[in-house]
Amino acid sequence: MSDFGFHLAFWALAAMTLGGASMILISRNLIHAVIWLVMSMLGIAGLYLTLSADFIAVVQVLIYVGAISVLMLFAIMLTPRAERDNSQTKISAPAGLVVLLVMIATMWVAVDTDWGPVRDGALTEQARLIGESLIKHYILPFEIGAVLLTAALVGAIALARQDEEDGPVHAASLQAELDGETSIDPADVIDPPLASEPSDGGTTS
């Protein structure tokens, strides 16, 4: 890709990423914040593409946009409306100061450090390479990661699981409960008259 297209893409995606992130900061509604987060994540996925990391970019969209943001929306919808504001805590002023210091430090490091000879090479066949190194060099971290994901899965289910008595009651079980506790003796219920009996006037049963 030529310089012009690359520049255009970088600045547009950078604006999208930072703009989305800043809008999270100032938006009043938590659901809007998640939507802005999605915009920011899509910008980052685009930046990965400018860095020729297409596997990571696709995974970014798959995990962050398709799963994590949806999970967050779910969590928000499970809490009542009163809790859905996106306001700041009392410590935001001192936090801002700390963040400003961190920003100065990191920016200084990023811009001022001599990063050595800059190479401009992209990996090809990343998916294959990453996959192979995952099960060769990084097999132990890979296994630990698998265990971690399983543990997180089980933990999340265990935490979010409701007690049985709060769980959904279905018509059938409700009916079974009713049947068990009913005090009406079926024989006490009046039988409607048979065909031979006269049926002038009022409804029976």
Partner: protein, 393 residues
């Protein structure tokens, strides 16, 4: 009668329903029930009827029926018209079973007037009441499958049968839905010549059609999953709520007025009363399917033993019955349909009251739907087979 307060709260509710805002009722235990108004404009309420459900997630915690959107004050209007003039009202009470309504009203008026109905008229009445049952059950089962989410296919197939029944109505009395066919003392017209061959052809075709529906629907796993064990009501509860018709018979109670209190010569025909076992939506569907077959059986016997003779007794158009009261009931496709008439000796009834099966059957909906999901409530409503014109009158 609705009071002013009721009307005001109804208007408040409907304004909320129209705005569709999400209001939260925090019950304090962390869950947040949501009140959803199904209707008055909703694809599954089969008319203008409102079901106000309180949902916890997808689970129905409370259900409240709001009726009256189709109220046309028929019972009051009927007090100003002669007994014969009231027959068209009965068409419009249950517009999917006009013949059964005609019949029930005429039976009540005949009891009041002491009229003897000629045998041919009785046979014709039975014929059309059973044809009406076939048409009405086709509609009920078709829309029930639709409420289960099928894309109109079974509905259209069943409408094909209903269409043929309505064609027969049209060739007999000129109208398809609001037939106004029965008269006090008989029926308005004799059968046209082309009716019996058409009916023969219909009876010949129906077994194959029914076999097709059974092949499509009876073993359908999705339909079983949606309708079995859903909207269950016990026979005791059904009797205590005075349910009738297929909803009652699906619980296993063999109660059918055509057997229990025969009218119009039903005692002369051989037929069985299908009853279900578990009282769920699927049993109601099955009972209706089986009843269609029994109706065809009765129709066969009616054609074979159709008596000759007059089809209308001699009843004056402005009959003035002696002061008194009468109640006549028939087994309409939806259940026990009764008409209660009081005469003060004048040409118009002093009191005209209808016992609509839809209204009484609907009263059990809350019992059936609480604890199930929203989708179950819709299926249950569909399986009760209400006609809103009958509920509100």
């Amino acid at each position: 009668m609705t009071t002013a307060d009721d009307t005001r709260s109804m208007m408040d509710d409907s304004r909320l329903a129209m705005q569709g805002t999400i209001e939260a009722l925090d019950s304090g235990d962390g869950s947040e029930p949501v009140v959803v108004n199904l209707g008055p404009q909703h694809p599954s309420t089969h008319g203008v009827f409102r079901l106000k459900v309180t949902l916890d997630g997808e689970i129905v915690r409370d259900a409240e029926m709001r009726i009256g959107y189709l109220h046309r004050s028929m019972e009051k209007l009927a007090e100003e018209r002669t007994y014969t003039q009231n027959i068209p009202f009965t068409d419009r009470i249950d517009y999917l079973a006009a013949m059964s309504n005609n019949l029930a009203y005429c039976l009540a008026a005949e009891e009041l007037l002491g009229v003897e109905v000629p045998p041919r008229a009785n046979a014709i009445r039975v014929m059309f009441a059973e044809l009406q049952r076939v048409a009405s059950h086709a509609m009920a089962n078709g829309t029930f499958i639709n409420d289960c989410g099928a894309w109109h296919t079974p509905l259209f197939h069943m409408f094909r049968d209903r269409e043929r029944v309505l064609d027969m109505f049209e060739m007999t009395c000129g109208a398809r839905l609001t037939t106004n066919y029965m008269r006090i003392g008989g029926v308005a017209f004799d059968l046209p010549d082309e009716l019996l061959p058409t009916l023969e052809q219909f009876l010949a075709d129906m077994p194959e059609n029914i076999a097709n529906y059974e092949a499509l629907l009876m073993e359908n796993e999705i339909l079983h999953a949606r309708a079995r064990g859903v909207g269950v009501i016990s026979p005791e509860m059904a009797i205590n709520s005075s349910l009738s018709g297929p909803v009652l018979r699906a619980t296993g109670v063999p109660w059918d007025l055509r057997k229990a209190n025969p009218y119009s010569g039903y005692e002369d025909y051989e037929f069985d009363v299908p009853v279900g076992e578990q009282g769920d939506c699927f049993d109601r569907f099955l009972v209706r399917m089986a009843e269609v077959k029994q109706s065809l059986r009765i129709l066969r016997q009616v054609i074979d033993n159709l008596p000759d003779g007059p089809w209308l007794a001699d009843v004056p158009l402005h009959a003035r019955p002696e002061p008194g009261e009468s109640y006549a009931r028939v087994e309409s496709p939806r259940g026990e349909l009764g008409f209660y008439l009081v005469s003060d000796g004048g040409p118009a009834p002093y009191r005209f009251h209808c016992r609509p099966p839809s209204l009484i059957n609907l009263s059990a909906l809350k019992e059936m739907s609480i604890g199930g999901t929203l989708a179950d409530a819709i299926v249950t409503l569909g399986s009760i087979d209400i006609v809103v014109g009958e509920i509100d009158r």
